[in-house]
Symmetry: C2
Subunit: 385 residues, 2 copies
């Protein structure tokens, strides 16, 4: 099996690369290193130290003797992308090469426009390259559960759903309502992919993933293999950010009342789910939607989990309810369907969330001094209003 | 009243500019002249000769003594746009500065990506500039009825609609299903505008317009004031294309069975509707959706109208059913709500469609020789599949 990972230098991209290499697959990673630069633009860095791309390739060679190739290239450049796909002849292409931060997209007109441009054009280029080169290549596209917002209906794992509108029945694209330019760019991607699937029969797995937490997977057994771990207001997802706050002795920054409920999963479960989705593609020409999470938690529940795990390491933490910089419902219905992952043998979290959080805090504790310098980038400054 | 017309050099942009100038308003027109170049890229030209931008400004001065200013600028450049809006202090901004051809967007990866980039980023820039400079500026955004496709439900004039999904009720964005990258870019714009309206209270009129036909408005009483009229496979809307075919003695190119039904309106009715929508904005912070057409026709009915009008000028035409280059239903339900325009006094077409078509054919007949050179760009070559 040969897999191209677009965005292969990122949090998930690098961790998935290691999982595929460990499984004996050939991996062609593509990245423009935008995230490394953009995190620096925000005055921050990865909480765990990561190697540069040359050292990473060397580590894969030494530790796994893996078949790995890295291209520094930009997926918004159609001809670069086309050449790489044409030469690599992959079975699947995983598309992570998107600007992935909601707060980053809300910083200014430039950040909003960049997010729209980069995410939408990269996906359009991927669609066309696959259509032109080989329609059997399976596109595995990373989306987000945030595309749906928090609707009153149960979120199905499908592109279309039956709806009754003014007493008439129709099959409609599952309704979405995103809450940032980033999340909207993903909705636009989904719409574009559904259209391409209908028109050209391109095979797609569209992954609606919840926030991921974790510093390790089974493959990350050596510090040279660390994947980036972001924690600042712009790039850090909530649970990873809470862990850094715990290590630094800061109160956990709960946005608003903390009743916001999302489906979460660990880094280990995310890469394992991705590997299985690649190994078990939908039928050729199919469009598969996956609600990718293992369990739903409210932000308040997460704060409790972090405080319990930290206590085991002798760290006392408290939660602070700070003004919510985002515009989102803080109490709401939430019920995404979850059938695809269980059908691939992933019914439950592989590790208990408190154990995973314990592991993150332990890993981070070794880098406490490094993190002290970044205290000011944790509190939210980007406001939605 | 001071109005900025983004895309002021185009078919509608120029015609609306003349209507607003004739009403005594100040108009600031902005255009990057992309359409002029892109039509040439497709080997075509405007069927009616149009002046360049300097001559156009001079004609407005001489004929109307109008208060008119033209900027050659690109709306995807945030700082250019910001400066123009800040200096002009407009009451309303009409946004026509979008790539407006479905076939153009379907030509290649580059054309698809350009359409997405230009249309989405220009709208994002407009949203941010208005938010930063003055949230009371009324954004009048040109969308298309094509955003909806041909749904089984009645298309309401609203951003949201109640829907029952799996026995649960929710308010959802009115479902869309577009049939080209161009139409999808407009759906993405609509979603982005609805989000901006919810988040920042920006005042929007989102116009879902049907195809426009016509060579004249009441203001175009002099050939110096001609607006562009496109007729080729890429840039010509169906009725204008049929008229050129009639003049050239070519059979009318009906795509497929010709049962495709759309809501049409004349250029006169389009600019009058636009002027009234500008004069009667929604309440501040409101989001108004307008289904802008005066009557629905099938393509077969249009072919009949053209053949009747042509007969009055002694021209005999026949219709050819050619293979449909697009992917679209050729028989379907179609019922868009139509309340906003009647509430502004526009219940019916101001001119009979057959009379308007007669006028187009008569205008075009004066330029028959000029058109002879462009016969080959009429037949569709860009195919959706």
């Amino acid at each position: 099996m040969r897999v191209i990972v677009l965005g292969g230098d990122g949090y998930l991209g690098w961790a998935l690369t290691l999982r595929l290499i460990a499984r004996g697959y050939e991996v062609v990673a593509v990245d423009n290193l935008y995230t490394r630069r953009a995190v620096e633009e925000c005055g921050s860095t990865s909480a765990l130290p990561i190697l540069n791309t040359v050292e990473r390739a060397k580590a894969i060679k030494e530790i796994f003797d893996g078949n790995y190739k890295f291209y520094m290239a930009d997926v918004t450049d159609y001809h670069e992308l086309y050449k790489i796909i044409e030469e690599s002849k992959p079975d699947a292409i995983v598309h992570f090469a998107e600007q992935r931060s909601a707060p980053y997209s809300m910083r200014s007109a430039r950040h909003a426009a960049y997010t729209m441009y980069n995410n939408i054009v990269s996906t359009i280029n991927l669609i066309y390259a696959v259509k032109e080169i080989d329609k059997n290549i399976h596109i595995v596209k990373m989306g987000t559960l945030g595309e749906y917002g928090t609707p009153n209906f149960d979120i199905p794992e499908s592109a279309f759903v039956d709806a009754h509108i003014n007493d008439k029945k129709d099959s409609i694209i599952v309704p979405k309502f995103a809450n940032s330019w980033y999340h909207w760019s993903k909705v636009h991607d989904t719409n574009n992919l559904i259209f391409a699937n209908k028109l050209w029969g391109i095979t797609v797995t569209d992954i609606m993933q919840g926030p991921v937490y974790g510093s390790r997977t089974k493959d990350i057994r050596d510090e040279r293999l660390f994947t980036r771990l972001d924690f600042d207001e712009t790039w850090g997802t909530v649970l990873n950010r809470f862990c850094v706050e715990a290590v630094l002795g800061l109160p956990l920054t709960v946005y608003g009342r903390g009743g916001q409920t999302r489906g979460f999963l660990s880094l280990e479960d995310s890469v394992e789910a991705l590997a299985r989705l690649i190994e078990h593609p939908p039928e050729t020409g199919g469009y598969r939607v996956v609600n990718q999470f293992t369990q739903a938690y409210s932000i308040n529940e997460l704060a409790k989990i972090v405080s319990n795990a930290a206590a085991k390491l002798g760290i006392e933490v408290k939660a602070d309810h700070i003004e919510n910089p985002r515009v989102e419902k803080e109490e709401h219905y939430y019920n995404p369907e979850r059938k695809v992952l269980p059908s691939l043998g992933l019914s439950k979290p592989s590790v208990d969330i408190e154990d995973a959080v314990y592991e993150i805090i332990r890993d981070l504790s070794n880098y406490k001094e490094r993190l002290e310098a970044y205290k000011e980038v944790i509190m939210p400054k980007v406001r939605w209003r």
